[in-house]
Amino acid sequence: MSLEYHADVPREFGKNLCACISCHLVKTLDQFVDGGCENCGFLGMEGDKDRCLECTTVSFQGMISVMDPASSWCAKWLHLAKMVPGCYALSVQVEVPPDIKEIMGENGRRVHEAG
């Protein structure tokens, strides 16, 4: 198990957390702005707050900290096996804007719609 490369750990546990709508990675908005999403570089969130707001949601349910995506059954079940270790939302309720949907599609990401 390698934790050498991992996503930022959320700096707080409260309501300020948001989840990447593509990979469900959970961090604070500031962390997204600072570091982008470790899985979804293609969304270009780093340094772009508006983009971060667009590509993340605060409407998520449950959270999973994946220490070892490759061997974790949970990660597999949630299709997180290829993601970097980090905290993810179990489920995200979101309407993905069409342009982002397109980008996600191009990058081989499935779109989990709201509901």
């Binding site: 546990f13 449950g62 999973i64 900290s65 070892d68 059954w73 597999k76 079940w77 979101v94 990401r109």
Partner: protein
């Protein structure tokens, strides 16, 4: 498992056996892992991932190979004959080592005990074999793996992508034994998320320190408070991970989640709060100035977890004016009270000098307004709330609120046009489809007017509805006597004020009433049941001669029940609609009654036990006491206590129009009239309306404001009889008869009238050990009478024949005599029951009794009209002083025994014995039974009076005929006279519309019934043409289901004495009345008042319970 085998095989191949025994198994194992070079391991784990899921693949692979599989097995069995037994454990162990912890485990001293744990499960030989792996050097292994599985690894990589692309079903990912397990760990308080994040951080820190945690993941679910799940292979890993975290209970350790439940554990339950708040949902605001208010979600922003909600603004425009200005204006400052919710009003805001910004709506139509940064649209405030600040309203919000809510939008949209507003409101409250005029169903007999084509404005009656939807109409204009065919779209139903109609659909379905005014497409009708004015679409109406009592049961509750709404709120059900009822609660006062609209779910239970209360002078008040109001706007009025809840009384005032005549009053604000409890001899409360209310089957809606005339709405005599319309003294007869009739009917529920009238009488016991004792009759059964002795503080039961006959002592005969027999007691049996349902039929009555209006001065009906302050007829029934002497039952003298007396007005005139209070209403009040009791001809007279109201069903020809022409025996053959038939037939609120037909008693054959007189149950064997039914008697089992003995007792009884027993799901039934009369079918389900029936011809129908008879013992 496969992997282990492979390794073993390989090890053996390469190095042969080793006999060395090694105690330190874990080292053994770990080293095995550690030896594997990272690169090899990495690739291998990629494979393993898939191998765990798709063992088939692996198997295939192996078979594809060089037959190694078979060889391997052979070897294994040679060396380790019991390895199969530990297969699973071994595999897990293997996985553990394989996938996990790799190089970091090297000198992880702490790991020892745990692995040892596992190691103990191995037997020595297994250990021995495994140890061989240890000596396998990394390069060799890698080379081997490379050679052996290289190609598959590539496939695996592709496979993984496949998962990402959704090519593989989630099913393939179900947990296997090879996967790590889930353990629940308790958290302190609600810190699950914190625990997740902290564990993540700990894992990272530990990994960086070279002592990685062996857990794979940690997650929590919103719906499972107080727990997190930890994914790991072993509990010790879990414990290690959670050690030292204050937000977790280390001591409690982890609880293993069974593999079957793993998917459930990780699946998010969408019922979690806030998640269902979607566009269009009804919500309640939880916080802020609108807390508790109803709102409708306009839009949801999932990303921000907020929703825009439409609420009715609570604005205090005056308070919004800046303070300085306010002071200048001298307006009160700092108002604390919460402003009422009202539609946003531009005018009001401008009156206060507030600046309102007006903007055009994005769609182009109309404007929205911005006042103080708040957004107002169509009178609503559009406010943004976090979704967690909203509470989803399950189902539809309470009707009242919903209507209020809808009204806001309507009133503001239509501006100053109140009519339009109302119309739109109605459209809205009736839901979608109202506007676009969903297909109108025409029925035979409907009055229609042609709205299109050459014959526009032609009026006629529907004579037939063709299968293609076209409608045959017989014009009513002179000169046309051929039926014409029209498309349904060319027609419109047509009603006139005064028409008597039934509502066929919508919220008010089942109500009947008279049309007060017609403003196409809406008719205003006044309902029989509640005397309320309803607005209904013309298309939803059909002419009806039946008078429905309205719905009078509401789920398990009945009209006028005292029910509990919440811990401190109780109330009386004062009216019942299709899916809601109105409850007068104890939260209001006499002057400000609080009425809540409740749905079944809002009602917790019925209050069955009620206590007593003290009046202003500390006299005891019990149920049915008559009390005077000492206070408030109803000061001086008297009412009957219907319910007592703690210190609050629910009184019924018979001449009060609102709230069904009920008021809620504190007990100390009333004074009991004439001492306590029910008045003695046939206390009016007893004889009349009281019973109507109390009876378990209070169909007697006559009790509802007996005299609607007082409140106005003029004389609206029955529509059918032109002669009766508008020419009598305003409705005196109408109201009167209703009241009286209702009281008669209210007795319902099985026992006959005389029994009830016995109650309360003072009698002297004439036989038995208590002979000579005087006492008050408190309870009557068919065989026994309970008498509260005056001389002793107790009540005793005595046989009925111990009560002197003048007090109704003789026991009730079981069977009524056939017609022709003197109308003695049993006569009522047949009559009482059907009658009581028809309480509200009476309105017809004046029309059919032309004499009533013509004698205004003589009888009370007239008096009412002229002097509303005098007791209305209905009220008489309540007033012991007035009613008593006139009460036929207590006064069974021959003086009353003139058939002619029925005529109401005549009665008063002809028979001086009658007090003026004795009104036509009163006459029929005690059902015919009462009169029959006395063995006088009265019975017939009264009976006819009682029945007459229904006659309109038969149409005008019966006018005048019936009152004069009752024969003692006519009732058993109800079918003989259309009018009578109609009244005897009781399909609840009248399934039939238009021309109703009498019941065909023969349809009752085989049907489970209860006998109205004795309450016994049985199955109808046959019904003769003379209306006498023979009934095989059975019994009720604890579930209230009929059970028939093998050799039942068979008795004869009047057909009209038959009451249907309730049908249950799956019963085979026969429809005994209505459009589907005679058809058989099966009951699929029961709703509140309806049965869902599948007829034998395949049609599914919803019909009222009252027309569905249970064919006992038949199965489909």
């Amino acid at each position: 498992m496969a992997r282990t085998e492979k390794k073993l095989t390989k090890a053996k191949k390469q190095r042969g056996d080793s006999d060395e025994e090694d105690e330190d198994l874990e080292d053994d194992i770990e080293e095995d892992e550690d030896d594997v070079a990272p690169s090899a391991k990495k690739r291998r784990s990629a494979f393993i991932d898939d191998a765990a899921e798709e063992e088939d693949d692996e198997d295939d692979e192996e078979e594809e190979g060089d037959g190694r599989r078979g060889k391997k097995r052979l070897k294994r069995s040679r060396f380790v004959d019991d390895i199969a037994a530990v297969d699973e454990d071994e595999e897990e162990e293997e996985d553990d080592q394989d996938e996990g912890d790799d190089q970091f485990l090297l000198d992880e001293g702490e790991e020892l005990p745990e692995v040892e744990d596992v190691g103990r499960r191995y037997d020595d030989r297994a250990a021995m074999i495994r140890r061989q792996d240890e000596e396998l050097d990394a390069e060799q292994l890698e080379a081997y793996v490379q050679q052996r599985f290289g190609n598959q690894r590539d496939a695996a990589a592709e496979f993984g992508d496949g998962i990402e692309a959704g090519a593989v079903q989630q099913q393939a990912l179900l947990p296997t034994h090879a996967d790590p397990k889930l353990w629940t760990v308790e958290t302190r308080g609600g810190s699950a998320r914190e625990a997740c994040v902290k564990l993540m951080q700990k894992a990272i820190n530990k990994a960086a320190a070279g002592e990685p945690l062996l857990i794979r993941s940690v997650f929590y679910q919103e719906h499972l408070k107080g727990y997190i799940y930890v994914e790991a292979h072993k509990e010790s890993h879990v414990k290690e991970a959670i050690r030292g975290l204050t937000c977790l209970f280390y001591g409690k350790g982890g609880q293993l989640v069974p593999m079957k439940e793993m998917v459930d554990a990780i699946t998010v339950k969408y019922t979690a709060k806030g998640s269902n708040i979607e566009e269009g949902a009804w919500v309640r605001v939880k916080i802020g100035p609108y807390s508790g208010d109803l709102g409708k979600v306009v839009s949801v922003d999932y990303n921000a977890d907020t929703a825009h909600v439409k609420v009715i603004p609570r604005l205090d425009y005056a308070a919004m004016v800046p303070k300085e200005e306010r002071r200048e204006q001298g307006a009160p400052s700092g108002r604390k009270t919460r402003p009422p919710s009202r539609a946003f009003s531009l005018a009001d805001a401008k009156d206060q000098g507030l600046i309102v910004e007006q903007r055009r709506k994005p769609g182009g139509l109309g404007f929205y307004y911005i006042l103080k940064n708040q957004h107002y649209e169509d009178g609503y405030l559009i406010k943004q709330y976090g979704r967690a600040r909203l509470e989803l309203v399950t189902g539809l919000p309470p009707l009242e609120e919903l209507q209020r809510f809808n009204e806001v939008g309507i009133s503001s949209r239509t501006g100053d046009d109140p009519d339009g507003g109302e119309l739109a409101q109605l459209m809205r409250s009736l839901g979608e489809g109202a506007e676009n005029g969903a297909a109108v169903r025409y029925e035979k007999g409907d009055k229609v007017v042609v709205t299109g084509g050459d014959l526009t404005n032609l009026r006629g009656r529907v004579t037939n509805v063709l299968s293609d939807g076209r409608v045959e109409v017989m014009p009513t204009q002179l000169g046309l006597n051929e039926a014409l065919t029209f498309d349904a779209a060319q027609l419109r139903k047509f009603f006139e004020a005064g028409d008597y109609v039934r509502v066929n659909s919508g919220q008010h379905e089942g109500q009947t009433g008279m049309i007060v005014s017609v403003e196409e497409p809406i008719c205003v009708l006044m309902t029989d049941a509640t005397r309320e004015q309803l607005q209904v679409f013309t298309r939803d109406l059909a002419e009806s001669s039946n008078v429905a009592s309205g719905v009078d049961t509401f789920g398990a509750y009945e009209l006028h029940d005292l029910v509990v709404l919440d811990q401190t709120t109780v109330g009386v059900i004062i009216s019942v609609a299709k899916d809601s009822c109105k409850v007068l609660t104890n939260k209001g006062s006499v002057d400000q009654p609080v009425v809540r609209v409740c749905r079944a779910i809002d009602i917790k239970r019925k209050v069955t036990r009620e206590g007593t209360a003290m009046d202003s002078s500390h006299g005891e008040i019990a149920r049915d006491s008559v009390v005077d109001m000492m206070d408030g706007r109803l000061k001086g009025r008297s009412g009957t206590v219907k319910h007592i809840f703690k210190k609050q009384l629910f009184l019924h005032l018979n001449d009060l129009l609102e709230n069904g005549g009920f008021v809620c009053v504190m007990s100390h604000k009333v004074k009991a009239k004439g001492g306590k409890a029910p008045a003695g001899v046939a206390g009016s409360a007893k004889g009349g309306l009281a019973n109507a209310l109390r009876s378990p089957n209070p169909y007697a809606l006559g009790m509802v404001p007996a005299s609607p005339r007082i409140g106005g709405f003029g004389a609206a005599p029955p529509p059918r009889f032109g002669g009766g319309r508008g020419d009598g003294p305003p409705g005196g007869g109408f109201g009167a008869s209703r009241g009286g009739y209702g009281s008669g009917g209210g007795r319902g529920g099985g026992r006959g009238g005389p029994d009830d009238r016995m109650i309360g009488q003072i009698t002297t016991i004439s036989k038995g050990p208590f002979r000579g004792y005087r006492g008050r009759i408190i309870k009557v059964t068919p065989t026994e009478v309970r008498v509260e002795l005056e001389a002793q503080q107790r009540s005793v039961g005595v046989p009925r024949d111990a009560i002197p006959p003048e007090h109704g002592g003789a026991p009730l005969p079981r069977e009524p005599p056939r017609f022709g027999a003197a109308p003695s007691t049993p006569a009522h049996l047949g009559m009482a029951t059907p009658n009581h349902r028809w309480a509200t039929q009476t309105p017809m009555h004046p029309g059919t009794m032309p004499m009533t209006p013509s004698h205004p001065g003589m009888a009370t009906p007239g008096r009412d009209a002229w002097n509303p302050n005098l007791a209305t007829p209905g009220r008489d029934a309540w007033n012991p002083n007035l009613a008593t002497p006139a009460h036929p039952s207590s006064n069974p003298g021959p003086s009353t025994a003139t058939p002619g007396t029925y005529g109401g007005g005549y009665a008063a005139a002809d028979t001086p014995a009658f007090t003026p209070a004795f009104t036509p209403a009163e006459a029929p009040a005690p059902t015919p039974a009462g009169f029959n009791d006395t063995g006088s001809a009265w019975g017939t007279g009264a009976a006819s009076g009682g029945w007459t109201p229904a006659l309109p069903a038969g149409g005008p020809p019966t006018v005048g005929a019936t009152p004069g022409g009752p024969t003692p025996g006519y009732y058993p053959t109800p079918a003989a006279t259309p009018g009578i038939g109609a009244s005897a037939y009781d399909p609840g609120s009248g399934q039939t519309t238009g021309v109703s037909s009498g019941p065909d008693w023969r349809l009752y054959e085989g049907i489970a019934v209860a006998l109205a007189d004795s309450g016994r149950v049985g199955v109808v064997r046959s019904v003769g043409s003379d209306g006498v039914a023979s009934v095989a008697l059975g019994s009720e089992d604890p579930d209230k289901r009929l059970q028939m003995p093998d050799n039942p007792e068979v008795i004869q009884t009047a057909a009209s004495n038959l009451q249907l027993l309730p049908t249950k799901k799956k019963d085979v039934i026969r429809v005994i009345a209505g459009d589907f009369q005679g058809k058989m079918g099966q009951c699929l389900n029961m709703a509140d008042a309806d049965a869902i029936v599948k007829l034998d011809d395949g049609d599914m129908k919803v019909m009222e319970k009252g027309v569905v008879g249970w064919l006992y013992g038949r199965t489909s």
